[in-house]
Symmetry: C2
Subunit: 435 residues, 2 copies
């Protein structure tokens, strides 16, 4: 039972406390709605920095923010920790694990998840990096592999333990490869003086003909050069078709022996149940009109990664990034008010602020709408923008100090195996679960 009081004001149920859901919730302040926010976690995740949690640069709490702390400042808002099972659009209710709630308006802001394109073998054997627990798993696995590499005299086994294959060279794959390369240069050889770090290899496998293929050619070329400088092997035009836990295989017949494969090659929408297949479009995203209304409804909305708004300018929908989600959330707050007042709705126009990626120390690429640059200044801009985008003063401060420390000391101190990943059945793992 959700225990939400009845209200004289119309009720907006928002599913998901990511960039889109939170921006909408904040903007609904003093707009005379009762807002119910549901999320399966009690925190907001700042996804752009997950790769730093995975590589020991940041603690997980630094990029997570309690959702209840966000909603404290708002009025007539109710947060519930809940997993939504489905939406019943006929009876206008949301069915979750903790009960059922009726809505006047419902907003699906459930984001995206890793897309393995139906390959179960790859899904079962490779690592995804879309959530904090997943990033902590990668951190544990990377460190555990170095511990294991110390224990073997079989050179092939050692090489496989020290070979990191990243599938996909979008911003996530490129940033992760850069961070691993920095660890190889500055941290790991000091931690494991007995290992020969010429055996450590970082392979990025990209299906397209260039890295960062959503960015400008200039930035793409620069990123490739940065990766090369850091000793990362980039494989272009190679499609990964299998990984059995030991060997990565590509369509063209290449093979990589690796104990760690991180899959950043695709994301897809993570919609809730309750819609016809016709509403679910390419990339598992929900088809919405220019007001973010789900096709066929006036009271059901989808925003952010989970929504695809196919206009003339964006035939494939908007990019699955924070900015479209935030901007759609902002506009939807206004449109919900207009809907209540029976005024005509305003169509969404995406304000493309550009995109960026960092590849390591002093290295980043930035695409502004009319200007592309890279190098030290781009890296500085990347840091500033990410720091300012973090929610909360404490998180900004803690991340700032960690970055300053890491930069000056060439260090990454969160290299902690707090929750072992490999030793799932060992006593220490059971201890983690129970006591």
């Amino acid at each position: 039972m959700m225990n939400i009081p009845t209200s004289s004001q119309p009720r907006v149920v928002i599913i998901g406390g990511g960039f889109g859901g939170l921006s909408l919730a904040k903007k609904l302040k003093n707009k005379n709605f009762q807002v119910v926010l549901l999320d399966k976690h009690n925190y907001h995740t700042f996804q752009p920095l997950l790769y730093q949690v995975a590589t020991g640069g940041l603690e997980s709490g630094s990029i997570a923010y309690p959702i209840r702390k966000v909603v404290q400042k708002l009025d007539e808002i109710y947060f519930r920790l809940a997993e939504v099972e489905r939406i019943d659009t006929v009876n206008k209710k949301v069915i979750a694990d903790i009960g059922t709630i009726f809505y006047d308006y419902v907003v699906i802001a459930t984001g995206s998840k890793t897309n393995f394109f139906g390959n179960e073998e790859i899904k079962n054997n490779s690592m995804a990096m879309k959530t904090i627990p997943q990033s902590l798993n990668i951190r544990s696995l990377v460190l555990e592999n170095f511990e294991s590499a110390l224990l073997t005299n079989d050179i092939n086994e050692q090489k496989a333990l020290m070979n990191f294959v990243i599938v996909g060279a979008g911003p996530t794959g490129v940033e992760l490869a850069g961070a691993l390369a920095e660890m190889k240069k500055h941290v790991l050889p000091k931690d494991y003086p007995d290992l020969d770090f010429r055996k450590m290899t970082i392979n990025v496998i990209q299906g397209a003909g260039k890295v960062l293929d959503a960015m400008s050619d200039k930035s793409s070329k620069a990123a490739e050069k940065f990766l090369d400088k850091l000793g990362v092997n980039v494989w272009l035009n190679e499609i990964v078709v299998g990984y059995d836990g030991k060997t990565v295989k590509t369509k063209s017949g290449k093979e990589f022996q690796a104990e760690t494969v991180i899959w950043t090659a695709g994301v897809m929408g993570a919609p809730v149940e309750g819609f016809d297949a016709t509403v679910i479009q390419r990339g598992n995203r929900i088809k919405v009109n220019e007001f973010n209304q789900v096709e066929g409804f006036t009271d059901v909305f989808a925003i952010g990664d989970v929504a695809t708004m196919m206009t003339e300018k964006t035939p494939m929908g908007h990019p699955m990034m924070a900015q479209p989600a935030i901007q759609q959330g902002d506009l939807l707050a206004k449109n919900l008010e207009r809907l209540k007042e029976k005024k005509p709705l305003k169509p969404f126009v995406y304000n493309d602020k550009g995109s960026m990626a960092t590849i390591g120390r002093n290295k980043a690429v930035v695409d502004l709408p009319k200007f592309h640059f890279n190098g030290f200044f781009a890296w500085f801009v990347w840091m500033f923008v990410h720091l300012m985008s973090l929610i909360g003063f404490r998180n900004k401060l803690v991340v700032f100090w960690n970055w300053l420390y890491n930069y000056l000391m060439f260090d990454r101190q969160a290299r902690l195996i707090v929750r072992p990943y490999k030793k799932k059945n060992s006593e220490s793992f059971d201890n983690n679960l129970a006591k």
Copy 2:
């Protein structure tokens, strides 16, 4: 296979990277030993601040320090992530999950674990707080209980969800109770405005006739007054005899309905296998002589919590705290050198620097050997000593900023359920484990 090279220098195997093991390893620098350090975690845990991780005041990474970072600065030291199964003192070898290693000297520094005094029911239903994963479990459970309290209209169930029973009023129990009381005052009512916080109760149940019974009467009285001011119910001379997951029962017949019971009522040594029962003394600790040699051996040592050195001055052994462990580790480094040089060993003399506990904002008690004080200045001393005792500049800095932020903002931002505790079988939990 451990892959430790043979050496012309005698090999010291240290089991455990706690306060004792690390202080010994550091002091063996340039002493012409080959040192092998084994621990089941790749990090050192600063146990005195675990209660702050449990109550959302600090992230876990702030009180953990990578052991490899400590040993980087040392020469001829080998760290291995390993769980020791037993010691074979006849053949002078240590048998671990990753293989076997021969020693010239072996030092058991495996610390202590929670003592449930053989009560399986309490062990299965209550929470312990000796490790980082355990503290994170408590954090998750506390927050999950408030989320659940929102969902019920059964007043008794709600009260049980908001009732926190801490068994044991040593420093850990008292500090945890104080932190929970501060959360009740400053954080939780803002997060859960729909809950009536008069229903939230914190009960500390103590077997002895006073709280902090290892400290002075003055400090004990002051601590009790502080707890009372914070609204914590203290029950003295009450022995908890059972907890079935719903009801705490005491010997005198009292009952407490509580969904959360944290057991801080006892610790016991956590020795390794391989010794006769006669060597294992009261509190499961290994009997050592004044040189920390295990009874009957000249080449097997135990230090810290796991060791009990029964002298005239300390008939029950030294207190199970950081200081005796650190001091014994320091002395043992010197004694190992003397042993190698066939010089007579120096006996251990404990330098009691005093003890302290904090009960909440601006409140602490300090016992110096000849002087006892409490209140604001004591609280300041407590903070300073704990900050300075943390290993590493980054950890000091991050904890300092968090404390300053928490103090000024009356906040505790690490109130994150990163790994759900209750919903063990839900999808989100499985996701945490796998991907």
